[in-house]
């Protein structure tokens, strides 16, 4: 079972990384100037030194750091991330749980969109290396890569939403009359709302990935087996799509895994612009209101998501690469 062995090796490698993530998240919260209860306490005029001490004891802040860390880690294991500082005092995990699906949905859709466009674009420019098409695509990609996504979002909102009135510019679905819609209309309504956010979040990754596909494809096209395939008289189509593409796309799986943090990071921007109730917007609002428990919960959950993304990429790579799947090398 070489694949099982490969997989368990990957899983074991995750453990120290996971511990490191929790330590850094914890340190950000505790080594920063001021205490997590500081803001809460400073804003309360009735705060006396005794009450402050009681509050410190309540949050366990009077214990040594390693005890606090262990408690926090224990809480994390039960998805207990503490309670929000917001007036509703809601458990942090509930807030995250509500918003996670939205962010994952949009990021998956934009990952799909990226693949759908980047792969054909990269292959097409690799095949026409140095030609007019390749040069035009290269310049276009540079511009895409440099364009700030929040600006593109604003421009698209201005043009498609405000000037032409074609697309809604905020929220996940219409607020008025949404419940009266048929299921089909609801899907259409969601699609119309998600079109701009997904397009904007795909933009940056699209540029990077299609450039990557291009160079990976060029690399493969230089290999001896491609020359062999050509020499035995295969059509150019067969050479490129059957022999070259599959090998060129293999490293892409790893790159996709590595692009997860960037995509999730982008959520902060497009969710706050398009008023989408996802994890990015939660992060932004918790920074603005200094809601530290929510902030730290977000940080650790998002980095665990990244870790899972990397693991998925490793699994995908293992399944796609016959050398790992069967354990035969060479």
């Amino acid at each position: 079972m070489p694949f099982i062995a490969y997989l368990s090796k990957r899983l074991i490698a995750l453990i120290p990384t996971f511990i490191g993530i929790t330590i850094i998240s914890f340190m950000v919260m505790h080594l920063a100037p001021g205490e997590p209860i500081g803001v809460q306490a400073d804003l309360n005029p009735k705060m006396t030194p005794e009450v402050r001490e009681r509050l410190r004891a309540l949050y366990g802040l009077d214990k040594p750091l390693y005890v606090q860390y262990w408690r926090w880690l224990d809480g994390l294991a039960h998805l207990d991330l503490g309670r929000s500082f917001a007036p509703d005092r809601a458990p942090v995990w509930n807030k995250i749980k509500e918003r996670l699906p939205v962010t994952i949905l949009i990021n998956s859709l934009s990952l799909g969109l990226i693949l759908l466009i980047a792969v054909p674009l990269g292959v097409a420019s690799a095949v026409r290396q140095g030609g007019l098409f390749d040069k035009a695509v290269t310049i276009l990609i540079f511009v895409f890569y440099a364009a700030p996504s929040f600006w593109v979002a604003i421009v698209l909102m201005l043009y498609l939403g405000v000037d032409l009135g074609w697309l809604p510019v905020s929220g996940l679905h219409s607020l008025m009359g949404y419940n009266a819609l048929s299921p089909m209309q609801k899907v259409l309504d969601w699609t119309r709302h998600l079109l701009l956010p997904v397009a904007v979040s795909a933009m940056g990754g699209l540029a990077g990935l299609s450039r990557y596909v291009r160079s990976s494809m060029l690399e493969v096209l230089r290999q001896d087996y491609i020359m062999t395939a050509r020499a035995k008289g295969l059509s150019e189509h067969a050479v490129i799509y059957r022999h070259a593409l599959r090998n060129a796309l293999l490293p892409l799986i790893t790159i996709l895994g590595l692009s997860v943090p960037g995509l999730i990071g982008g959520s902060v921007i497009f969710e706050s612009i398009f008023a989408i109730p996802g994890i990015g917007q939660l992060m932004w609002s918790s920074v603005m209101s200094r809601d530290y428990p929510v902030l730290m919960g977000n940080l650790v959950i998002v980095s665990i998501l990244t870790l899972l993304g990397n693991l998925l990429a490793d699994i995908g790579y293992g399944l796609a690469d016959p050398r790992i799947r069967t354990g035969r090398h060479g």
Binding site: V28, I154, R214, I269
Partner: protein, 292 residues
């Protein structure tokens, strides 16, 4: 340029300035250099070339569209957008250069230690890099900013502290490939200290890739700063930054398109300039790093 007949040689030119010749043959790289040059000149001459004081509030001329008096219009406080845009260059360059300088220093130091000593030090440092890379940079930056004042200094330091991992990996790879080379062994045999070998013998050989990654990094740092300022947790008004100018643009999107269009274009051009320059340097300085 001269009258002398040019002697065509088939032997590839080499020497100190070969990279410059190959750089100037690449139109995209030259475009990048021109853009970056213009940005630096604009930043230096900002007080001379901006038509108005970027902070001067003029309540008689609020939200005026571009005109001859205000080429890029005015904002919600009647300030001249062109002047604010010009002063914004200073912020973007300052943040980009300082943040990347810090990231490069940290990354080079840790990468050099990992690559030169290897073993346990290498394992630990690279594991640390893996862990840092699991945090989406903007989340980590936001988490730290929540505890600090969002001043320009803090923004620069935080972007630097969260952006050194790429450089560390790069420098480590260079050091691993260089540390077994004959000139390093020779230096060791002649009794040079580790410090001397790292800084005087190996590091100079790794300058080219570091320079390339720093140039590309400046573009990234400018984007990050503008995104943070746009979200209201970066450079704070009234200091003009392209990001916080865009916040105003977004809030007035239905009445004042010029507030949104120009700052965004400025960011795009600046980032494009550094990216083109970086890629151009990559192709010119080190053929091994060439992407295609």
């Amino acid at each position: 340029m001269g009258d002398k007949p040019e002697v065509k040689s088939t032997i590839p030119k080499s020497g100190r300035f070969a990279w410059w010749r190959s750089f100037t043959k690449n139109p995209l790289a030259v475009a990048g250099l021109l853009i970056v040059g213009c940005l630096i000149i604009t930043a230096i001459l900002a007080p001379v070339i901006s038509p108005y004081d970027p902070q001067a509030i003029n309540t008689w001329h609020i939200l005026e569209p571009p005109s001859r008096a205000h080429l890029l219009g005015t904002d919600t406080l009647g300030r001249d957008c062109l002047s604010r845009l010009i002063y914004g260059v200073r912020i973007s360059l300052l943040v980009g250069i300082v943040a990347v300088g810090l990231a490069t220093a940290i990354g080079a130091a840790l990468g050099a230690a990992a690559g030169y000593y290897g073993g346990m030090i290498d394992t630990l440092l690279m594991r640390f890099v893996d862990i840092m890379l699991c945090f989406p940079a903007i989340f980590l930056i936001m988490a730290v900013i929540a505890f600090l004042e969002p001043s320009i200094l803090n923004i620069m330091v935080i972007i630097g502290l969260t952006g050194w991992m790429g450089v560390a990996r790069l420098v480590r790879a260079e050091f691993m490939s260089l540390r077994e080379r004959d000139f390093v062994l020779a230096a060791k045999l002649s009794g040079a200290s580790d410090r001397r070998i790292i800084f005087s013998h190996i590091l100079p050989n790794a300058v080219a890739p570091i320079l390339v990654s720093a140039t590309l990094g400046i573009g990234g740092a400018i984007l990050t700063e503008s995104a943070l300022s746009f979200l209201g947790i970066g450079v704070q008004p009234p200091t003009p930054s392209w990001g916080n100018m865009l916040t105003q643009g977004k809030d007035n999107i239905e009445v004042a398109w010029w507030l949104s269009i120009f700052p965004g274009l400025a960011i795009l051009i600046a980032v494009l300039g550094f990216n083109l320059l970086g890629e151009g340097l990559r192709d010119a300085l080190d053929p091994r790093m060439k992407r295609d």
